[in-house]
Subunit: 89 residues, 2 copies
């Protein structure tokens, strides 16, 4: 929890790519996996970090888990970064 967790989640390229893929719309873990060259378990741990940061939300659909982007948390990170630059708090 907290903005810390969010920034840590954002610090790995695989996780940022996951978010980029989800930007276009929800995808299952399996569908996401086709875009990466790492093992599914490893990717699953990346998903877990994104969930922990609330950057994604999961919905079960049969045996599949569908991942959705959580834009509001992305906004929070954006706001936090913006606050380092501008004079708005």
């Amino acid at each position: 929890m907290g903005i810390n967790t969010v920034f840590e989640a954002l610090s790995h390229p695989v996780r940022r790519k996951v978010l980029a893929l989800l930007k276009a719309g929800p995808l299952s873990a399996g569908d996401l996996a086709t875009h990466f060259d790492i093992s599914r378990p490893t990717l699953s741990v990346h998903f877990a970090k994104l969930r922990e940061a609330d950057l994604v939300v999961v919905e079960r659909q049969g045996t599949s888990l569908i991942y959705h982007l959580n834009a509001s948390i992305l906004e929070a990170a954006l706001a936090s970064l913006l606050s380092l630059k501008d004079d708005e708090e």
Copy 2:
């Protein structure tokens, strides 16, 4: 180098606080240190990561090193985050 390095640099609370302090204006390493409870060498390593990411720029002034925020890199990070959210670019 690269946006990767930038996000990694941003992933630690101490380093984000350094940037927040520099937002108000340049500060020496020593002045920055007064705001933290960690040892100076440890803080120095945090500075090094910020330099590596080009998030800060250093200027020597006598025996002091003055750190400046590099807003353009912050903008790059901002843009990268924004691209995860919106449809622009």
